[in-house]
Amino acid sequence: MSAGQVEHSLGDYLRMERLPHIWCQGCGLGIILHCYTEALRELDCDLDRVVTVSGIGCAGRASGYVNTDAFHTTHGRAIPFATGISLANPGLKSVIISGDGDLFAIGGNHLIHAARRNVNMLVICSNNFNYGMTGAQYGPTTPTGTRTPTSPYGSIENPFNLVALVAAAGATLVSRWTVYHGQMLKRAIKRGLEKRGFSFIEVISPCTTGYGRLNRMTGVEMMRQLRDLSRVRKVHPTEATIEPEREIVIGDFVDVERPTYNEVLEGLERRAAE
């Protein structure tokens, strides 16, 4: 460290030579990355036991900035890739950071099945309501009526309620936070890192360049909206739908214990060996 340089507080957890990151001003992904690496530090996680995996898109780049083993897979396939890791080396914890399009459109099938199997992994979904990297096209979470480059007259599709979908599929930990709620998000990530089972955290995150620009909102306005509209409430996940200008229910929706896929598999192996 030469004179005049300030040591980054998370320097051990980030690939400093890869920074600055590629994300736009006002994008929430930097906050998610910060909360994730802070969670790793506060838990004093053995970085050699964590693998950060991502799919494609803006969020997909997150794996490249973390100082763990990391893999940037194809579009939508981070979860099955991580399933392979979990089975091959049960001592490793996979953390998936990816976007709503990657995880719920092209990768939706894998997500529900990994939740059903209760594979031990933490999925952090940055939900920015659009495909940011390709230019803000509508996706599986875009609110009905939203104008995007591929829905110039307003989206005619119903969006997924992510927490309801993942809870129904069998996830053992389901939370929703926003990038405005950094401390809570960090605590949720810590719980997810310590949880044995399929954990899912939806993080509402502004896409200022895409969704924000198209809907005439600045980054500051989008953040203010997350602050003003979000309420921590205990409701059934199916009631936590997200609609424009309406209250966003945040908090924990599911926290249950269920044997993980590997635990069940180990039981099977013991039976087979008899």
């Binding site: 099955p80 890739f81 399933t83 890791i85 091959a88 894998h110 598999l265 060996a273």
Partner: protein, 381 residues
């Protein structure tokens, strides 16, 4: 049934032999989606793996299966999947990922009639160009074509060895006929089986560059959880594994990925010649079709036509040079395969200007020796 290698003589079908070949090669991860005519491989593995410490999982689709295979490979296990043409069609994007990130793995294609759903229970050889050119972008592929139940075992072991040696996905191109056919299989003693393991880093983590290769062009491979803390991506990358969008990076990486196979093509390439150096007509075939071709060659010799057989054991890399050499002294070449004209084009390219006669066979059954013989007669004596 707790043994890994089931040394001894067995009367089994080809899919069974493939599963045991994988186990004998050290495969301990298998992911797949059920599909005719490859399902029996998964069934055998599902019964065997829990007793020998292997990990079997049936996925929600073939895309998930191949993605998990790459994840398991990067976690240190020898990993495979088996499917048929429709499944390979779904896997192709991630097979490209395995090429790009140099993940050793084996993909078995028990071929059936296509395109689309085609004839699920009927054998075919219609995917031999798909395995070569199916993925987008430039790549050199390795593909092996067994002609018997014994070779389903032997070449599965070989496929793992090549995948580990060169850090590439390797195809085993079988078909429904061999997959479902019962024959004698002899599994050697464990000590007599040659198995290859990937080259490991011999430097400490702080000096390790995951995609730096020596003159072999194959980088040593660290795995997840070993402390190397590397990053790998399907994006074009530098030696550190970091994305690099410069033209130079693309040029450098693709040349290395292709050249590690091209420069070793002669070492990888395998074929069998029967009377091929002393013939007027050379028959070229592979897989189940080669058995008919061998009979046709004998029948032609009985008729006094000097005929030889060139059987491709590896389809890719294609043995251009050897075929060119052999073609110098023959009047014509007969190619027979269970499709409407695929590898025959490669043969034509290699033996030009020698005349090539093609015997296509569509619909379940391998060519009959008489059909090949008729083509031989037209070219010889």
């Amino acid at each position: 049934m707790t043994q890994g290698v089931l040394t001894g003589s067995h009367f089994v079908h080809g899919d069974w032999a493939c599963a045991e070949g994988a186990i004998s090669a050290g495969c301990r991860f298998y992911a797949a989606y059920p599909i005719t005519p490859a399902t029996e491989i998964a069934e055998r593995i599902a019964a065997r793996f829990p007793r020998i410490g292997g990990r079997f999982i049936q996925f929600e689709d073939e895309i998930g299966a191949i993605a998990s295979v790459i994840g398991a490979s990067y976690s240190g296990l020898k990993a495979m999947t088996a499917t048929s043409g429709p499944g390979v069609s779904l896997m192709l994007e991630n097979i490209g990922l395995a090429v790009m990130t140099e993940a050793p793995c084996v993909i078995v294609n028990v071929m059936r009639g296509g395109p689309s759903t085609g004839q699920p229970t009927a054998g075919a050889q219609g995917d031999v160009m798909q395995c070569r050119w199916g993925i987008h972008g430039d790549a050199e592929m390795i593909a092996l074509a067994p002609q018997s139940v014994q070779e389903m075992f032997d070449l599965t072991v070989e496929a793992f060895n090549l995948s580990e040696a060169y850090r590439v996905p390797v195809f085993l191109m079988s078909d429904a006929n061999i997959g479902h056919m019962y024959e004698r299989l002899v599994i050697p003693r464990e000590g007599d089986l040659e198995t290859v393991d990937r080259k490991r880093p011999d430097v400490p983590p702080e000096e390790y560059l995951p995609f730096r290769a020596d003159e072999s062009l194959v980088p040593p491979m660290a795995c997840f959880g070993e402390g190397y803390r590397f990053y790998a991506t399907g994006l074009t990358h530098d030696e550190r594994g970091y994305p690099d969008m410069s033209p130079e990076a693309q040029d450098r990486l693709l040349r290395r990925l292709c050249d590690k196979i091209r420069r070793n093509a002669d070492r990888i390439s395998r074929y069998e010649e029967i009377m091929a150096e002393d013939c007027d007509v050379l028959v070229v075939a592979y897989g189940i079709s080669a058995r008919s071709a061998a009979t046709a060659v004998r029948l032609a010799r009985d008729e006094g036509i000097r005929t030889g057989l060139f059987r491709l054991v590896t389809l890719w890399p294609f043995p251009d040079r050897r075929l060119e050499e052999l073609s110098q002294s023959v009047k014509g070449v007969v190619v027979s395969e269970m499709n409407y004209g695929q590898l025959v084009r490669e043969v034509e390219r290699a033996v030009r200007p020698t005349r090539v006669s093609f015997v296509p066979k569509l619909g379940e059954n391998p060519p009959r020796p008489e059909e090949i013989l008729a083509a031989v007669r037209r070219l010889g004596p």
